[in-house]
């Protein structure tokens, strides 16, 4: 079970029509996300856990539960590596 995460302080997010941009004003780095990544980021920002993220992805896209979970886990790992998200307080 994945923990809940939240964006780090200084991470700004802009939703676009085909994805999103995450800007970290602390590290001066920016990242682009495709539309699936943007949907996952929005779930993280809204404080959803992994199960709710997977359900949200399945509602929006034609993906299996396992594919959605893989996408969620992969992006969370990448975002945590880039220090754009951190575990939320329990």
């Amino acid at each position: 079970m994945l923990a809940r995460y939240r964006p780090v302080r200084g991470a700004l997010f802009a939703t676009l029509t085909d994805g999103a941009v995450v800007l970290d004003v602390e590290t001066k780095k920016y990242f682009t996300l495709n539309d699936t990544g943007a949907a996952i980021w929005a779930c993280i920002r809204d404080g959803l856990g992994a199960d709710a993220m997977v359900a949200a992805l399945q509602r929006e896209y034609d993906v299996s539960e396992s594919d959605a979970l893989v996408a969620v886990e992969a992006l969370i790992e990448a975002l945590e590596t880039e220090q754009l998200i951190e575990p939320a307080e329990p």
Binding site: L16, G19, E26
Partner: protein, 255 residues
């Protein structure tokens, strides 16, 4: 209070969350402060060469305008006959000024050839003039003979051999943004739809103040996001042929 360190050209800067900034010209050791929206000369400023003072003042103006919700883009802006502004963004050397001049010769008023301000309004994104002399390469005289008369004023120390010129079609103070194109010199001519996310990333690369943070950061990012999603965005690959047909390319939406 956190402080952002950033650099543009020969200027190092420290910006606090509330927007106060120390600008330091590294070559001339001159400083200019922006405090509560006011410019305050610092050490070495009074005795610095005019070029260094101009560079500091330019950045200070970018920051002051940012505080007012007018965000500087490293881009050209020209106004089409329908009254809408085209923003031509791109890395240095990819023809922003050249293309702006080509359009100006066709009567399109210029908002800026190397900078333009964008502001979010109730009616959408408005482009505003960034007043600096228009500069084009004297090499363009082979295409536009009238530039030959400016040869004596060329700055030959500039690798691009640019010269300040008046915009043939005059200038404009503002216009609603009609479209945006990322321009790139190429071996072919093509105007193709672009991904808003890719365009947003390109604008961020070209606009270091986006990364400054502070109380205007969200507004700046939202303004850029609104810009790239509210108007058509394109990639414009161009050869010299476009110098004479760009006005048609943009108004007809195809090369």
């Amino acid at each position: 209070m956190s402080v952002s360190r950033w650099r543009r050209g020969l200027v190092d800067a420290l910006t606090t969350e509330d927007g106060d900034t120390l600008l330091r010209h590294t070559a001339e050791r001159a400083e200019l402060h922006l405090r509560k929206g006011r410019l305050v000369p610092g050490r070495g400023y009074a005795s610095a060469p005019a070029g260094a003072r101009r560079e500091l003042a330019r950045l200070a103006a970018v920051l002051r305008l940012r505080q007012r919700g007018r965000f500087h883009l490293h881009a050209a802006g020209v106004v089409a006959p329908d009254g809408g502004a085209w923003i031509l963004a791109g890395e240095s050397g990819n023809g922003k000024s050249t293309l702006a001049y080509a359009l100006a010769r066709r009567g399109w008023p210029v908002l800026g050839d190397d900078g333009v301000l964008v502001e979010r309004t109730k009616g959408g994104i408005v482009a505003r003039a960034w007043r600096e002399p228009m500069q084009v390469s004297i090499e363009l005289a082979s295409e536009f003979p009238e530039l030959g008369a400016a040869r004596a004023a060329v700055d030959w120390s500039d690798p691009r051999h640019r010269v300040a010129v008046l915009a043939p079609g005059g200038t404009a103070s503002s216009a609603p943004v009609r479209a945006l194109a990322l321009v790139r010199r190429s071996s072919r001519d093509a105007l193709t739809p672009a991904s808003p996310t890719d365009v947003m990333a390109a604008l961020i690369r070209q606009s270091p103040t986006v990364l400054l943070g502070g109380d205007r950061a969200v507004d700046q990012l939202d303004t850029l996001g609104t810009l790239v999603t509210s108007v058509p965005v394109y990639r414009l690959e161009h050869t010299e042929r476009q110098l004479h047909v760009l006005h048609r390319t943009l108004t007809e939406g195809a090369c």
